[in-house]
């Protein structure tokens, strides 16, 4: 008899007033008993909508059934069949808009905590099993992956499982892409990411850091070096700014810079050399997950007041509900329907305030969301000494400007063929934010997976080179 409780087994978390002063993980994970109890909520329905709701089609009911039977190791292998980064996905996937959104249990109460269970299985395995993963037998072919973020890592893992000699090139000194520079430690501990990447090494994937493809080697030179297909997963790394007066004052950061200083360069740890502003009052502009991450980092670094400044209302916020909820619990102040007009600075060039204007919602715009319109005469000053701009990013132009024949759209995203993710260049595939613009980790992984399959077919000649 399944567990018919209408709510998920709650995930233990650090208390808000404790966690907003440390960088340790917020959610603490299920115990074995909690996991089994939650697994019993899955009624193992016939049509399994959750599997189709997952961009990498994890065999969700099967792995949950194994958790139910306390076969945690087997459950891990079941997930691993289609998802090389379960500990990451269990933490950062927006399950509420994917697998859990379509869960049958969600029709009467909360859906099954699929994300919580995935995370539990991955963490359990990490803690209890120390087996080396056997690399597949080499098939004699070489493939290159540019960028070691979620898209590239999954692509590399899937190719390695097929026996390819795969090399991943990363521009930074550390592998993981947005998983290490963007998503903060308290949401995704870096040792978890490193552990998952170690699994890839065991699969035989070679990872080369400090390599800027497009500069040190072009895509064409990679082919000359014997790589038969190349995957571009270079993400959407270029930060957008608002182009308002005062944006170049000291202590105005892009969220990318702020998060990179905090996460990758560990400026919260005194033993690291990375400097970061010691802020008193911080305004983070934007309403996405990145804005929430930046705000919560600022709070943890000791800022007394941290605002989220967003021009629409909370309903339109693109951030996950859970992230908004966590941010509020931690004392982040939400200034919605508020738009920055200019940033002011002192005589030394440091931020000393931000002028904003109140907004109201008008008619729906092209995105279907109601368009924010300025309320005349509602300008007011915010007392802040740091501003973090988190209004989005666009794809990095480095590769498209150094690779002849690569077609891009007007936003700078690489144009790819729908079913194969092949670009306008034969043998060059792409996926993730480099194609779509800023999206989610799991969508990038789905694209990396699709590309890996097509790269294999391309190299084996199933997709003719002259198609």
């Amino acid at each position: 008899m399944p567990n018919m409780s209408k709510t998920k087994v709650p995930m233990p978390v650090q208390e808000p007033d404790v966690r907003n002063r440390n960088f340790s993980e917020v959610a603490l994970g299920y115990t074995e008993d909690m996991a089994v109890e939650e697994a019993e909520r899955c009624i193992n329905c016939k049509h399994k909508p959750c599997v189709a709701g997952c961009p990498v089609n994890v065999a969700i009911p099967e792995f949950i059934a194994l958790v139910h039977e306390r076969k945690f190791e087997e459950a891990y292998y079941k997930i691993l069949e289609t998802n090389a980064l379960p500990a990451v996905c269990g933490r950062v996937c927006p399950q509420e808009s994917q697998c859990e959104q379509v869960c049958v249990r969600g029709k009467l109460g909360e859906p099954v905590g699929i994300g919580h269970l995935e995370r539990f299985v991955a963490d359990w395995y990490m803690k209890n099993v120390h087996k080396l993963i056997k690399p597949a037998a080499p098939n004699g072919h070489k493939a290159a992956v540019v960028g070691s973020g979620p898209a590239g890592l999954i692509c590399a893992a899937d190719l390695a499982k097929l026996g390819y000699d795969v090399t991943v090139f990363e521009a930074f000194h550390a592998t993981g892409g947005v998983l290490v520079y963007g998503i903060p430690e308290f949401r995704l501990p870096k040792n978890i990411v490193n552990h998952e990447i170690d699994n890839l090494r065991e699969l035989g994937v070679k990872l080369k850091t400090n390599m800027i493809i497009g500069r040190a080697f072009t895509i064409d030179e990679l082919f000359e070096q014997g790589y038969e297909a190349v995957f571009i997963g270079t993400g959407a790394g270029l930060p957008s700014f608002m182009n308002i007066p005062g944006e170049n004052f000291n202590a105005v950061y892009s969220a990318n810079e702020y998060l990179t200083r905090v996460n990758l360069m560990r400026s919260y740890d005194e033993t690291y050399d990375t400097p970061i502003m010691k802020s008193r009052a911080v305004a983070v502009i934007g309403g996405g997950n990145v804005a929430m991450d930046a705000a919560r980092c600022a709070k943890r670094l000791g800022a007394e007041t941290v605002y989220i400044v967003y021009r629409r209302s909370e309903v339109e916020m693109p951030a996950r509900i859970e992230e908004v909820h966590h941010a509020k619990e931690e004392g982040i102040i939400f200034k919605t329907l508020t738009n920055p007009v200019r940033i002011t600075g002192n005589e030394r060039g440091y931020v000393n305030g931000m002028e904003c204007v109140e907004m109201e919602l008008g008619e729906p715009d092209a995105s279907g969301r109601r368009r924010p319109v300025e309320k005349k005469g509602s300008e007011f000053m915010m007392d802040v000494d740091t501003v973090i701009v988190a209004i989005g990013t666009s794809p990095n132009p480095l590769i498209r400007t150094t690779t002849p024949g690569l077609e891009t759209n007007k936003y700078g995203g690489l144009v790819v063929e729908d079913t194969t993710n092949m670009t306008s260049r034969k043998g060059v595939f792409a996926g993730g934010d480099a194609v779509t613009g800023a999206a989610t980790v799991i969508l990038a992984m789905g694209a990396g997976k699709k590309a890996a399959k097509a790269m294999d077919e391309y190299i084996r000649g199933v997709i003719p080179a002259d198609s």
Binding site: E170, A171, F172, H173, T175, Y181, K206, L207, K208, T209, N210, M211, I212, R215, A216, F217, Q225, G237, L238, P239, F241, N243, E247, N248, F249, N250, A251, Y253, S254, N256, E257, T260, R261, M265, R266, T271, Y272, D273, T274, P275, I276, K278, R348, G349, N396, P397, L398
Partner: protein
């Protein structure tokens, strides 16, 4: 003045030399140019093969260090050497300077930035200030070797800090030295020398300036007065060097540009130097603290 401590045996291990994720970026040579400036050759063949004048690298000495950009001063494709010249002014550059031949730099990435546009220039004045001479030198060398008439104006605070004098003389038709205190060459600033040359009728198609921000500002103001096209090299605070952080942004002709991918070279007449000077000092207070914590390995012995 230049002392070559010793030279590492030549080695080449190409792409197969990667150990785990990292290449071994070995210090091949190390020289002391003056009391605070060192020149190093670092083994990085994939960068040596590609780097062109004006481009830069980013290094990180150890796991807890900062990422610091440095302009490529020279390359040697045969030995795989990338030459860097740096002043030991901050914690990271001091730690770099303490590396011995045969030791390795943890991270060394490049080439970054756009190469200088140095072709089809008839006559150029290359102006270097202090350490800026290390960056001006490869440009002057490239111009000189491609047939441009090159005048170099090199300025230093005082005689003891003079670097690369012979190197610069070798790649210029005319070489002018000046020091702030008059201990060597003419007494005065590079702007004084350049103004003198222009007013005495010397004609330049292009002026290239590399040095401290205030120096580049005043040279640019001077050449604007005479309508001479001027290129400056902006060494800003940055993290990744690939356009990702935007920390290096500056205003050029009213538009925001990223020094790492749009530069590092820009039209000196369009750069907002006052803003760039303010931004360059963003972490001065914090840096001061970090610097004070650094203890030289020699002092620990």
């Amino acid at each position: 003045m230049v002392t070559i401590t010793s030279v590492a045996p030549r080695r080449f291990f190409g792409m197969e030399g990667f150990k785990l994720d990292r290449q071994m970026f070995e210090v091949m040579t190390k020289e002391t140019l003056n009391s605070m400036t060192k020149r190093m050759q670092v083994y990085a063949p994939h960068i040596a093969n590609k780097a062109r004048p004006g481009q830069f690298i980013i290094f990180r000495v150890n796991e807890k260090g900062e990422r610091i950009p440095l302009t490529v001063a020279d390359t040697d494709k045969d030995t795989g050497a990338v030459t860097i010249i740096f002043q030991e002014v901050g914690k990271s550059t001091k730690e770099l300077g303490e590396l011995e031949i045969g030791e390795t730099v943890l991270d060394f990435v490049g080439p970054l930035g756009k190469p200088s546009e140095l072709d089809r220039i008839g006559r150029a004045a290359v102006v270097g200030g202090g350490l800026g001479c290390a960056i001006a030198f490869p440009q002057a060398k490239y111009l000189f070797n491609s047939g441009t008439q090159v005048d170099i104006i090199a300025g230093f605070r005082t005689k003891d800090l003079v670097i690369l004098e012979d190197d610069m003389k070798a790649v210029s038709q005319n070489f002018y030295m000046c020091t702030d205190d008059g201990t060597y060459g003419t007494k005065g600033l590079v702007t004084d020398v350049l103004r003198g040359l222009i007013e005495s009728g010397e004609k330049y198609d292009k002026v290239l300036v590399v040095g401290p921000l205030p120096m580049m500002k005043f040279v640019s103001l001077l050449t604007k007065e005479f309508g001479i096209s001027t290129i400056v090299s902006m060494n800003t605070i940055m993290i990744d060097g690939t356009g990702m952080c935007g920390g290096c942004r500056l205003t050029v002709g009213g538009e925001t540009k990223f020094a790492c991918v749009d530069g590092p070279e820009f039209d000196g007449h369009l750069v907002d130097f006052d803003e760039a000077i303010r931004r360059s000092g963003m972490y001065k207070d914090i840096e001061g603290e970090k610097n004070a914590q650094h203890v030289c390995r020699l002092e620990k012995m």
